[in-house]
Amino acid sequence: MEKFLTVDDLKVHFPTPDGVVKATDGLSFGLDRGKTLGIVGESGSGKSVSSSAILGLHRGTSARVSGSIRLDGTDLLAISNQEMRRLRGKDVAMIFQDPLSALHPYYSVGNQIAEAYRVHHAVSRKEARTRVVDMLARVGIPQPDRRYDAYPHQFSGGMRQRAMIAMSLINDPSLIIADEPTTALDVTVQAQILDLLQDLQNEFNTAVIIITHDLGVVAEMADDVLVMYAGRAVEYGPVTEVLTHPEMPYTWGLLSSVPDVTADTSKRMVPIPGNPPSLLNPPPGCPFNPRCVHRHKVPGDLCRTELPALIPGNRGEDHLKRCHLSNPEMIYETEVVPQFDPALAEER
């Protein structure tokens, strides 16, 4: 059976004077109601662009979007602008990274949330206010009736993000896209916001896409995880599976870059060498190959000539990986600290 949200071969390309930037290049995933998908990747890997495409935020720009995004059977790329507008904020809501800049400085917080409600419901100002105050209380904002009239700059960072969450939930959406919802917040506040999001998700049976580069967030929140690199999924599967048995060197690299407080302090963190590739002119073959320390284990020059397919790995049908390495044990067996080879960089 088709999942509630099914994204199939999504491509978002931006034509520029220098060539086409393939921000997202053939992304597929599915998500059921009540479930959470974590999308992980470095900056510029196409996480945000892909999720913006779900809301049609590229409409009216020069971006070329193709593939299909089906939400409850409706193809979101095929519907009219008018239909898309009715869906935004109602069926699909978004939580943005920095709530201070995402809220309008000149309108009160309550006003902005009420506006989101009144776009989709023909209610009076007063009714909208009641509804918003309820929602503000629900997301844990104290004195919601007074805070309704406060402006964003009078809120603390955590309160602002709570207000953003209230705004996203005001129309009972079936899908929430949270684009790095905790990146701009203090660590202590991060945990509160994530808990809140999870509670509300359980209550409303909402599907959630959480975009982050924080694997801790993914481990806590997500059911499935999709690792993106250079506009493509490189590993995709259940979160426990992927985070404990990564089969793609990039995922392994991400995990090794996370500080582990319980670890022996003499053990060094292992960063991934090099930088993400240019999306304008990606390296041939596997996009990760210039940074991959396991490249030599693949026979021939396969990594540099052929893009690996996203196929099930050795641990089951639902754990997909995009890697030429036949056996993931080959990643784990090496205790090498990756050495960045300058010659590799020059090849690009």
Partner: protein, 338 residues
């Protein structure tokens, strides 16, 4: 808030005091015989000496400035010299506080001269500000939403061309073609609303107002365009779109609110400057406003009028600055409470 306003008013008054003093000093620093100019070409030595005494030009500068300040505070009698007043009591003019002085050349108090000229300048400034704001903001928004198209480039280019031509050229051009050759409009002549009604007042202000507005149009188009583009790139615009608002509402409610705020400052200050007189436009159209009064009094070395016009124009700018700053607190909640 009130303490802030009071502080601003006090600073403004100090500024005007300084402004008037500097004008006095500059006037007497000029290498000419000021009394001779005030008296006229046919005066002999004795008449010039009497004029000098009558105007008080024989006294030191700081004393004259003190007299001016005293006039504003409590009023003054002219001629300044008490002996002259005693000798000819029938020519004494009393000027009640706040007295800006007495213009020997015009045989009127400066207050009367300014009161006669100010409505003209104000009318002109009002018509012009409405024209350039309506035109500048509309065209600026249009250019911003059609960024990069021929329309955008056309708007920016054409207003720039209009800006590049000097006002005296545009004014004379309009007079020659619109008025004389094509006879679209009657020759503009300032009439008051009381005398001729609103329509006649407005029709006569169309050409001078438009000429004046063209000076400001280009910069307002460019500023509006830049501010709208900047505002439309903000995160809160994406939020508004993601809420499901129509594109029109995103632009007008969310985009413009932030974009047009800086224009309030610009408009307030530009308008205040014009209240003090639009010198070139008024000269071209022979409009008897403060600008023309400034030119005439400067040419005639008529110190009392010069001082009056300068202080008044300075006062407009000072007041506008305070008003704009206080208005900002009402527009931007971050200023109000932050």
């Amino acid at each position: 808030m009130w303490a802030y306003a009071a502080r601003r008013v006090i600073i403004g008054l100090l500024l005007l005091l300084t402004l008037s003093f500097v004008t006095f000093v500059l006037f007497f620093a000029a290498p000419v015989d000021q009394a001779k100019y005030a008296c006229g070409k046919i005066c002999n030595e004795d008449q010039i000496a009497v004029t000098e005494k009558a105007l008080g030009y024989d006294k030191p500068v700081h004393e004259q400035w003190g007299g001016f300040i005293k006039g504003i505070a409590v009023g003054r009698d002219f001629p300044v010299d008490p002996e002259l007043r005693a000798a000819a009591p029938d020519i004494v003019t009393h000027c009640a506080a706040p007295c800006f002085g007495y213009s020997h050349n015009n045989a009127k108090t400066v207050n009367e001269l300014v009161a006669a000229a100010a409505p003209t300048s104000m009318s002109l400034a009002m018509v012009a500000v409405v024209m350039w704001l309506a035109g500048g903001v509309t065209l600026g928004i249009l250019a911003a939403v059609t960024k990069g198209t021929i329309l955008d480039r056309g708007i920016v280019g054409l207003t720039l061309i209009a800006y590049a031509f000097p006002t005296f050229f545009i004014g004379v051009f309009f007079l020659k073609y619109v008025v004389i050759k094509w006879e679209v409009l009657p020759y503009p002549k300032y009439v008051t609303i009381e005398d001729a009604g609103v329509m006649a007042w407005f029709t006569n202000l169309l050409l001078p107002g438009f000429t004046l507005a063209l000076v400001f149009l280009a910069s307002y188009v460019r500023m509006t365009r830049a501010f709208v583009l900047e505002s439309m790139g903000e995160d809160y615009i994406r939020t508004a779109t993601a809420k499901g608002l129509a594109a029109r509402k995103v632009l007008f409610k969310h985009g413009l609110r932030a974009a047009l705020t800086p224009l309030v400052t610009m408009t307030g200050l530009d308008f205040a400057t014009l209240l003090g007189g639009a010198i070139i436009t008024e000269s071209v159209f022979a409009y008897p406003g403060l600008g023309l009064l400034t030119v005439q009094s400067s040419n005639a070395w008529d110190l009392p009028t010069i001082i009056g016009v300068v202080v008044l124009a300075g006062g407009f700018v000072v007041v506008a600055n305070i008003v704009v700053d206080i208005a900002y607190a009402f527009i931007d909640p971050r200023v109000r409470l932050g």
